[in-house]
Symmetry: C2
Subunit: 230 residues, 2 copies
DNA sequence: AAGGCCTTGTGAACGAACGCACAAAGTCGA
DNA sequence: TCGACTTTGTGCGTTCGTTCACAAGGCCTT
């Protein structure tokens, strides 16, 4: 019962080279906004402009960018191209990331054909499904392989990121196979929790959760109004 | 750092009827886990078990549930059915939420056919697309209407939640129309920021961002390894 | 009836993130 | 060259969220 937590906790990763998780999550936002600005012909951008374009506030923008170093010019702003490059490098987008998508149903089809993948250096290296009827079908220029091929594709294509779009019941076993084959990052669309070894990264996207959060606030507003009226 | 605040500390959320945002975001997780437990025949659940089933830690579970009131039994745990009901009510899931999906392309198709909608009280009240070729097609039991019908569907079906799955370029104008027609919550899949009046709720899902965050950590691991070697 | 055992509910410490506000540092026009 | 103006970079107080740790409370066995 005594949690043996007597060890004086050291500042975790103080000396470490680390930018806050919350800032990392915003970098892709800036990158997207910068793409738009570059297309519009802007060569420099102030934190205020970038804030407006990415839906963040400007103090946060400046602090986030400061984690990458001091590349702004006071009185002027940041160089758009340079920022794009800095952020892309920080996020690891200057290299090619082969991705394997497992479960080519409705969602898998949409993902496989999604252009937002490729534009950031994510290459669909393979599509696999358990249903023999789907094997051979071509989606977004890539043919669907059978689930049996999972391991060989991961190895042949050096896949490090796997995307799971199977029913929830199959997700854990698929995940286990991905990890065993060498995948170290997983994006999970199935509505379930995945158990993975600690060194493997997992992120989940659950559309239903987003809707429920919206419903909560929606209800809150309605109740508030009704409450006043009642 | 002792709270030398002679000031009467405003208990923040004691008087107010407010659950922290972070807790709200986890309630759907618990709900999902409870569904599984109920199916497995469990009638009561401890915070420890629920934590394991929902991928959260148990202290957080207890604190989150405490915002709903004191419904647990010490030494035993929580009643599964009662919890399901409490959470569903808190999230507003005891009522029917008509949802309109705009943009029935690849992603829109997947969303329209997704079962995870209906199981939580979200009813697809309409599907609209700008492409005349798509109008009339039936997806998941609902026929696709033309974009022109947007306003009339929102009013006729009392839609308060809109889902945007159009290309980014069209998203803002679609959003404006939804809001003008009376929608007060928007779930946006297009990779762009949406401007809305302050009383309208917006959430965004950007798959590409999730991948970029994965890539960041993936790279970090690789660099760490390579760094030692270099 | 009493004591042991388990689990909740929560006060309090800790830590992460936010946003303000401003000095520092640069640009640009005169 | 200089001074007005603009915008960065960041120190700091505040707020939000997480985690610890334990008293309070209730069940069950004896
Ligand atoms: N459709 C959506 O909008 C949506 C949204 C959020 C989450 N999800 C989730 O994403 C997942 C997929 O949804 P969907 O609508 O595409 O379902 P789907 O039934 O259309 O597709 C599932 C696919 O996975 C394949 N599959 C089943 N078991 C497999 C296995 N062991 N290995 C490989 N492939 C396997 C099936 O053959 C099928 O092609 C589900 O878990 C769903 O809950 C879907
Ligand atoms: N496919 C994915 O996996 C994925 C993932 C994340 C985000 N997204 C985003 O979701 C959106 C849709 O993606 P998609 O793959 O389904 O694209 P898509 O091109 O297949 O579908 C877009 C649909 O929107 C319709 N549309 C265009 N303008 C419209 C308007 N003004 N009003 C109503 N409908 C209109 C088109 O007719 C088309 O049917 C895009 O913004 C995309 O970036 C897609």
């Amino acid at each position: 019962m005594p949690a043996a937590s007597g060890t004086p906790r050291p500042p975790a990763r103080s000396g470490e080279r680390g930018i806050p998780e919350a800032a990392v999550a915003r970098l892709p936002l800036y990158l997207r906004a910068l793409g738009g600005l570059a297309e519009a012909g802007e060569t420099t951008v102030s934190s205020e402009e970038l804030a407006a374009a990415s839906g963040v506030n400007s103090a946060k923008v400046r602090k986030d960018l400061s984690y990458l170093g001091s590349y702004g010019t006071r009185g002027v702003g940041y160089d758009v191209q340079q920022l794009v490059h800095l952020i892309a490098r920080e996020l690891g987008l200057t290299q090619d990331w082969p991705v394997l998508i497992v479960g080519i149903g409705n969602l898998g089809h949409a993902l496989a054909g999604y252009g937002g993948f490729a534009s950031r250096g994510f290459r669909v290296a393979g599509l696999v499904d358990a249903d023999p009827a789907r094997v051979g079908e071509e989606v977004g220029g890539v043919a669907v392989s059978h689930l049996d091929q999972l391991e060989s594709i991961v190895r042949a294509e050096q896949v490090s990121i796997g995307v799971i779009a199977t029913p929830a019941a199959a997700a854990q076993s698929v995940c286990d196979r991905l990890v065993a084959a060498g995948v170290t990052s997983v994006l999970n669309f199935a509505p379930c929790v995945l158990a993975v070894p600690p060194q493997v990264g997992v992120r989940k996207v659950d559309l239903s959760i987003e809707l429920q959060i919206l419903a909560f606030h929606e209800q809150r507003r309605n109740v508030a109004v009704a409450g006043v009226a009642t």
